[in-house]
């Protein structure tokens, strides 16, 4: 990847220097904000149109359902953002979620008195362990994460199947205090969603305001340069996979709390939605740009589409097709935007030779 656009008119005349007062927001950041804003608008439009057709869509119950429905996807999408930003991808999150969810159920089954915070910690730790397997393999093999996590997608799921061997864990097997976690509301907002919000805020803040967070962008933007500027790329990428695994673990525990019924198939195929949410949310698939907030919005948008289709009584078979079309539209739009921005930046490149 070259930084220079072919044939940029570097010396194009008449470039006013940037007005220092107006520049405080920063061009780079403003570009991101545009993306998040457009997602919000899309979300608003979708909710608006659906509500017009069916006013119950805006009822308290419905909004609660919506928030509840998107919480798990939001958490996964945020974890995926961390990974994609470094120009990697984690396809095994669905399998990790399934494995952790089943492990949580098994824990309650074998030790009925376990307080739920313990289960939470155990679940997150198991997820982190799976993430460490991913990260370790990637570090050892120095091959694309895509391939490794495709492999662990099978492997973790296989372990899950093997372990469950057709058993199912039911709501009755888990303590009510744990299950309440999945359904309880605080001031009408589901606890699950609050957890997701905390995760989004924490990761978003970390990515934006901490040195190590910025280094993740650097790695994704130009891995070779990152190595030369002293960033410990291997360590960071490993950490990112552990984090993604831990968040998938968290999502797995919450999944158990919310759905109550657990078998080995929990979360199958979820990875596609997660990647879709991140990409729709403006996280560039080639790393280096995107935010946790955007990815979370992407996840909310995808969930809302699912619910709207059900409410609008559109053939549910369309849902997957819509998700696919949305991914294509999102990356297409990104491309268009990038080209326009590049064209605009070309004009700014000069500094009066």
């Amino acid at each position: 990847m070259s930084l220079t656009d072919a044939g940029a008119p570097e010396r194009a005349a008449g470039n006013a220097p940037p007005d220092p007062d107006r520049q405080r927001r920063g061009l780079t950041e403003r570009l991101l904000a545009v993306r998040e804003l457009s997602l919000l608008i899309a979300l608003g439009l979708l909710v608006g149109v659906t509500a017009l057709r069916n006013d119950r869509f805006l009822s308290g119950q419905s909004i609660k359902d919506l928030l509840l429905g998107c919480a798990i996807l939001v958490i996964l999408a945020v974890g995926q953002t961390l990974v994609i930003v470094t120009r990697n991808v984690d396809l095994s999150v669905g399998s990790i979620l399934g494995l952790v969810a089943f492990a949580t159920g098994s824990l309650f089954l074998s030790a009925p008195g376990t307080p739920w915070p313990v289960a939470l910690v155990v679940g997150v730790a198991l997820g982190a362990l799976c993430g460490a397997v991913n990260g370790g393999l990637i570090a050892v093999a120095r091959v694309p994460a895509l391939v490794i996590t495709l492999g662990t997608l099978y492997a973790f799921r296989g372990v899950d199947y093997y372990w469950a061997s057709g058993r199912q864990i039911n709501a009755a097997d888990m303590p009510p205090s744990f299950l309440r976690l999945g359904n309880q509301t605080v001031l009408g907002v589901p606890v699950l969603f609050l957890v997701a919000l905390v995760v989004v805020a924490a990761v978003g803040f970390y990515l934006r305001s901490y040195r190590s967070g910025r280094e993740l962008y650097a790695i994704g933007s130009e891995p070779a340069a990152a190595r030369l500027s002293g960033i410990r790329v291997g360590r960071r990428v490993f950490a990112v996979f552990v984090a993604s695994g831990a968040l998938a673990g968290l999502a797995g525990v919450l999944y158990a709390a919310r759905f109550g019924t657990l078998d080995a198939a929990a979360g199958t195929g979820l990875e596609l939605q997660v990647v879709a949410a991140a990409v729709v949310g403006g996280v560039a698939i080639f790393g280096g740009s995107g935010s946790a907030y955007g990815a979370a919005l992407g996840a909310v948008l995808l969930t809302t589409i699912g619910s709207s289709l059900a409410v609008l009584r559109i053939d549910p078979f369309w849902q997957q097709a819509v998700v696919g079309a949305l991914i294509l539209a999102a990356i297409g739009l990104d491309r268009l935007l990038a080209l326009r921005v590049a064209a605009r930046l070309r004009g700014r490149s000069a500094h009066g030779a």
Partner: protein
């Protein structure tokens, strides 16, 4: 961009003259074909000796029939991966082609022959959509085909929705599973072999094949050498789609059932087989022979383990581990070799 296309740092080729590591990876990959063929032979031998009912004609027939879709799709996939791209939408294209075949048969009144041709053309059109997004708009094929994976699968449910079409004429459905008279080799192996030979020759012994390797390694340099990178990639996606159309027909007839979920998840197996066959996910490296051996190895292992009553869940783990091993092992071995080499280098200096 070839290097950027599939994530992760490009292979850590040292720029130093003689780049020891690069050379040893190359040396190893050069023989990866041989490794995989040897593994295949060993697997077949061991399975024949230890697994009851493995070395029978009937089993060979089942094995080959089960492998047909995988083998067919692996052919264009090999070419695509060698150019540094990937097509994850193949299984969804198979599904959509299958349901469209069912829908046409159900409601159009066209002859089945014509429907088959239309389905292949349709597959080509689906591939062309992928190609357009990837080459026309310059988008990463990974993202595009994840999108079309969902889109095409969704559409295939839209096409047939509730139903499965199953009343295909019996002589057609029987024809695809028939054996070559006097053998236990399915007739369908013949077109597969023909296609494999065609793909092999194109890849290894034509100007176009050279261009594929060139653009997989460095598409900018390929462009400067007069290779139409975009156009070639576009047509590869089209070919991939058309082959998926063929597989859609085969699938529908073999299982006498056109339904939306046909071939779900097949893309992962195809990618596994291609990587197992020694094709580099970064593009620019790999051979068709290795891929064919990889497909067979995957099939033989699954079949033998199934016959040996190994749990299906263990099979899932095996598939995943094979994929990981096929990418981790070459690197690990190269590392060890490089280390040994360095030690050998150092010793005379010390003494």
């Amino acid at each position: 961009m070839a290097h950027d296309s599939l994530y992760a740092a490009p292979p850590t080729a040292e720029a130093e003259p003689g780049g020891g590591r690069l050379a040893s990876v190359r040396g190893l990959l050069g023989s990866w074909d041989a490794v995989i063929v040897a593994a295949l032979v060993v697997a077949v031998l061991v399975a024949s000796l230890t697994v009851e009912n493995f070395a029978t004609g009937r089993n060979a027939q089942f094995l080959l029939l089960d492998l047909m879709p995988l083998a067919l799709i692996a052919l264009p996939m090999t070419l695509i991966v060698i150019t540094g791209e990937i097509d994850l939408s193949v299984a969804s294209m198979v599904g959509l082609c299958s349901t469209l075949m069912g829908q046409l048969w159900l409601s159009s009144g066209l002859s089945l022959e014509l429907i088959c041709v239309l389905v292949v053309l349709l597959g080509a059109v689906l591939g062309a959509v992928n190609g357009l997004f990837v080459t026309g708009f310059g988008l990463p094929s990974l993202a595009v085909t994840i999108g079309t994976l969902a889109l095409y699968r969704g559409l295939s449910f839209v096409v047939l929705g509730d139903q499965a079409v199953a009343d295909f004429p019996a002589d057609w459905t029987a024809a695809v599973v028939r054996n070559i008279p006097g053998t236990s080799v399915p007739v369908m192996v013949v077109p597969l072999l023909v296609l494999a030979v065609i793909f092999g020759v194109v890849l290894h012994a034509t100007a176009a094949g050279r261009a594929l390797y060139a653009m997989g390694n460095n598409d900018q340099a390929a462009t400067f050498t007069g290779v139409s990178v975009a156009r070639t990639k576009f047509w590869l996606f089209v070919v991939s789609g058309a082959v998926c159309g063929l597989v859609g027909i085969f699938w529908t007839l073999r299982y006498a059932s056109a339904r939306g979920d046909n071939a779900t998840g097949l893309e992962l197996t195809v990618v596994t087989a291609v990587l197992l066959g020694g094709v580099s996910i970064f593009g620019g490296r790999g051979a068709l022979l290795g891929v064919v051996a990889g497909v067979l190895l995957l099939g033989v292992l699954r079949n033998a383990l199934q016959l040996a009553d190994v749990d299906a869940n263990a099979l899932t783990i095996v598939t995943g581990s094979l994929l990981i091993a096929s990418v981790v092992l070459p690197n690990a071995v190269a590392d060890i070799r490089a280390r040994l080499h360095r030690r050998r280098q150092r010793q005379p200096v010390a003494s």
